[in-house]
């Protein structure tokens, strides 16, 4: 528990307050901490009043999340269109919003149509800001969206009272209608909507008693399941606007280079369907009447590249191997992120001291939908964009700046995302919208840019490389007495949000603030800039830091002759929430057994790990065997405590999904740079977890009643260390570098 999320009894609509003084789960501190979020490249849109509310005091902007008409369109056919502050990208947030609003509004979630809202002050419900990320959506907006539904219901009841000429107190609602039991009369919401929306919202509309919830807390089916199973769902890449040209781009091989000579431009211009050829910053583009023709022509272009200027220009000799060597060579002390106890005394008095270095590579997001953007300049002076994004106002502010328009004239549509995992925040040169805008401006026509997969791997923002140096000690009783860690490198929070703070929270989350009782601890943040464009990636720093820490904890267990599960339990004896969860995952797996043991004719072993990501708690057990030097993961058991469950089926689905990407990163994934260029440009060379390597995943959702935690990301970080610890139990080999496929493993 890190206090990052407000208690659930917080007054609806009040901004999420961020407790200071703890360092765990710092992604959110960076994203939401006072002042920090406003620093994102200086681009975060300031809140503007959505509309005038009158004069004097009443002219103040309404609190985000309170203006019913900005969110809800109650239609005559009984359906309700909800403009959601959040973008749906697989995590199920559209369904969750329908559950939460529907519960209070008294409308079946299945009757909702949920679209992502345009930029606007009404939608800044994440601590006065707006983003879809940080596993924040439900927990940051739960109270606000509940109150919104209740306020809307109250307006409908008041409208019905006027229509039926009865006191409000005699009216009740049933799903989709207001009923007057005394007279047997009923009015459908659709009949009342017009009158209701003219009423002033009451901010004290009563909330439903949670004991009577019908949809919150239940495994409500996804609203988008049918459209996504029949090809009807429309992603950004599927959209068209009338009269648009299609563009394919070829980027410079290395960020910072610019197009020099286009040797065969005239020939390319004469290719079928080609409209024009354009030079863009760091790229060339061909416009055509179809995307394939544009692509074919763009690949036929004979381009030479020259050195240019770019704030993030990659050195021509940049390599990931060189970067790792630089991190390893950095021995500076850094700044403390966590400090307790007398470290020197603890080491001096210890029975045994060990040291180890761990590292993890750059990663690509590898979402299946390649990036695209449609840009259109309208006759009314507005610029309209259809683009994948996780933060409409942030993009709106940047686009206003680069296009010289007032932000109010930049209209952004946020289609559903074909996967995101952190891909669609603002990163340098990592999205096609500036190209679409430039091309639409140059041609006077709407333009759709699609990046082919190879361009995506060339310009994706990367999960940073991680490197941590550990020193730890056990006492005479074999229990850990001292732990020192130095995280070396750079994280996305530090780069984009808190460049002037000594500690980059995204470098140390998952290392600092762990719940284990250890007498003396010190975690340092040692900043070393990384030249590539770095990014948020599902579970951010936790995606590797919990691997580092929980693996080293098993090394300490081995040093002290302890069983890693029993040792953790002993270290958590004063932390009942964690101890309960650890026991829960052991029980889910049929009782803790480390092995090695025989199962289905092969030797197997199990490993355990814990993580405290994004306000939730997670305990993970993995069972592995080794075949021909390759790790086979047979089962993952994951217990998650998100405080309470809004949709237990969605939580399970997210944990399974997180387990898959966590395992993918454990075993297979690595972005390798040589000479300033990524070596893999498609899925043939950048391997992600295939169906054949998917283990069984068993999930238990434990509701401790603690404050709501995140759901989308927390399943990731326990997987790599649980697998590594199982491999160590099986083979005696300690994997300290990811991905594991690099390590030659002996047979069990």
């Amino acid at each position: 528990m890190d206090g990052m999320i407000p208690p659930t009894d917080a007054r609806p609509g009040t901004p999420v307050s961020i407790a200071e003084g703890r360092v765990a789960n710092l992604s959110r501190r960076g994203l939401l901490g006072a002042g920090a979020g406003a620093l994102l490249l200086g681009t975060l849109a300031s809140a503007r009043p959505a509309r005038a509310q009158g004069e004097g005091l009443a002219a103040a902007a309404p609190r985000p999340g309170t203006q019913v008409a900005a969110f809800l369109e109650i239609r005559g056919d009984g359906t309700v269109r909800l403009l959601s502050p959040f973008v749906e990208g697989g995590q199920g947030i559209a369904t969750a919003m329908a559950q939460i609003v529907g519960e209070e509004l008294d409308v079946e979630p299945a009757n909702f149509i949920v679209d992502c809202a345009p930029p606007g002050a009404d939608y800044l419900v994440v601590n006065g800001k707006r983003l879809t990320g940080g596993s924040l959506s439900v927990r940051s907006s739960y109270d606000t969206m509940r109150q919104l539904g209740a306020t809307a219901r109250n307006m409908l009841v008041r409208a019905a009272a006027a229509r039926l000429d009865v006191p409000e107190g005699e009216l009740a609602t049933e799903p989709g209608r207001v009923v007057h039991k005394a007279s047997g009369r009923a009015l459908a919401y659709g009949e009342l909507a017009e009158a209701a929306m003219k009423l002033r919202p009451s901010e004290v509309a009563a909330l439903r008693d949670p004991a009577t919830f019908r949809w919150i807390g239940k495994p409500v089916p996804r609203l988008d399941a049918r459209d996504k199973s029949t090809g009807r769902a429309k992603y950004g890449i599927d959209l068209t606007v009338e009269g648009m040209l299609q563009a394919s781009v070829v980027h410079a091989p290395r960020l910072g280079q610019e197009p020099d000579v286009l040797a065969n431009e005239a020939e390319v211009r004469a290719m079928p369907g080609v409209h024009s050829v354009h030079r863009l910053p760091g790229a060339v583009a061909v416009l055509a009447d179809s995307w394939w023709r544009a692509r074919k022509a763009s690949e036929a272009l004979d381009v030479t590249w020259k050195e240019g200027r770019h704030d993030r220009a990659l050195p021509a000799d940049f390599s990931s191997a060189g970067m790792l060597a630089a991190l390893r060579a950095e021995k500076g002390a850094g700044s403390p992120a966590e400090e307790s106890g007398d470290l020197a005394a603890a080491f001096a008095g210890a029975a045994r001291t060990i040291e180890a270095e761990y590292d993890a590579p750059y990663l690509a997001h590898a979402q299946l939908e390649p990036p695209s953007t449609i840009a259109r300049f309208n006759g009314d002076g507005t610029l309209e964009l259809w683009m994948p994004n996780q933060a409409p106002e942030m993009f709106q502010a940047v686009i206003a700046r680069i296009s010289g328009l007032d932000a109010a004239k930049v209209k952004i549509h946020s289609p559903i995302l074909g996967g995101f995992f952190g891909r669609h925040f603002l990163y340098d040169a990592a999205a096609p919208y500036p190209q679409a805008i430039a091309l639409a401006k140059a041609t006077g026509r709407p333009v759709k840019v699609i990046w082919k997969r190879e361009e995506e791997f060339l310009r994706d923002g990367l999960r940073p490389m991680g490197f941590v140096r550990f020193k730890g000690a056990v006492g005479a009783d074999g229990m850990p007495v001292a732990l020192q860690a130095a995280a070396v490198g750079e994280g996305p929070i530090g780069r984009y949000f808190t460049p002037n703070e000594a500690v980059d929270s995204s470098m140390v989350e998952g290392i600092a603030g762990k719940p284990y009782a250890i007498g003396a601890k010190r975690v340092d943040c040692v900043k070393v800039a990384q030249p590539p464009v770095i990014a948020f990636w599902r579970s951010v720093g936790h995606s590797m830091n919990d691997f580092f820490y929980e693996s080293f904890l098993d090394e300490l267990a081995a040093a002290g002759g302890k069983d890693p599960y029993e040792m953790r339990l002993a270290m958590l004896k004063d932390s009942p929430r964690h101890a309960t969860l650890l026991r829960a995952v052991a029980e889910l797996s049929g009782g803790w057994k480390r092995g090695p043991f025989e199962a289905e004719g092969v030797r197997r072993a199990r490993g355990v790990a814990m993580a405290s990501p994004f306000g939730s708690e997670v305990a993970t057990i993995a069972e592995v065997s080794i075949t021909d030097g390759e790790i086979q993961v047979h089962d993952l058991w994951i217990a998650i405590d998100p405080g309470r469950a809004v949709n237990p089926a969605m939580i399970e689905a997210q944990v399974r999904s997180a387990a898959a990407i966590g395992l993918s990163s454990s075993l297979l994934e690595e972005v390798v740079y040589e000479n300033g260029e990524p070596q893999a440009r498609n899925f043939d060379a950048y391997t992600i977890l295939p169906h054949a390597r998917m283990p069984r995943v068993h999930v238990r959702v434990v509701e401790s009643g603690a404050a709501l935690g995140g759901v989308g990301e927390p399943g990731v970080p326990g997987v790599p260390p649980a697998v590594a610890n199982a491999v160590a139990a099986l083979t005696g080999q300690r994997i300290r570098s990811l991905p594991m496929a690099k390590t030659r493993l002996g047979s069990a």
Binding site: Q91, S229, G419, R453, A653, A658, F683, H691
Partner: protein, 149 residues
């Protein structure tokens, strides 16, 4: 001009013969249910049926399917096997981001048309499309369910 048979209908398309079937479907015919993921037959998001066989349309020249029956995700709800697959996908709540699922449904439909009662090995051999959301277990379970429906 190429004449293709898509979902039982003859369609005249103005495209070079080497244009991948995927882009004829998406751009020329506006049938966007079939997805572009990689363009090199690695991910399977573009899977369609060509004479009943699961085929990665991103590397299939349009001219190579002249005279063949091309079936896309848009026809699945009117196909008896496709209907079972879609219903199993709903019952199992398979989709997350959903971007790969058109291709997954097509691969499953091709499998069940050829092998109505697949073994786990058959499913593993046929269901090789990538899913970044990791819905693989739900996919396999839905294929098994569709086979019993």
């Amino acid at each position: 001009m190429l004449e293709l048979t898509i979902n039982g209908q003859a369609r005249q398309v103005d495209a070079e013969g080497d244009t991948p079937l995927l882009w004829v479907l998406r751009d020329t015919l506006g049938m966007t249910g079939t997805k572009y993921g990689c363009g090199i037959a690695q991910c399977g998001a573009c899977t369609v049926l060509v004479d009943g066989n699961a085929t990665r349309s991103c590397v299939t020249p349009a001219e190579s399917v002249v005279g063949a029956q091309v079936t896309t995700i848009e026809a699945m709800e009117t196909d008896p096997v496709g209907t079972k697959v879609v219903e199993a996908w709903l019952a199992g709540q398979v989709a997350q981001c959903g971007y790969c699922q058109s291709g997954q449904v097509m691969a499953a439909t091709a499998l069940l048309k050829a092998t109505p009662k697949p073994t786990d090995e058959d499913i593993a051999a046929a269901m090789t499309n990538l899913c970044r959301c990791g819905t693989y277990n739900a996919i396999a379970a839905a294929v098994r369910q569709a086979a019993t429906a």
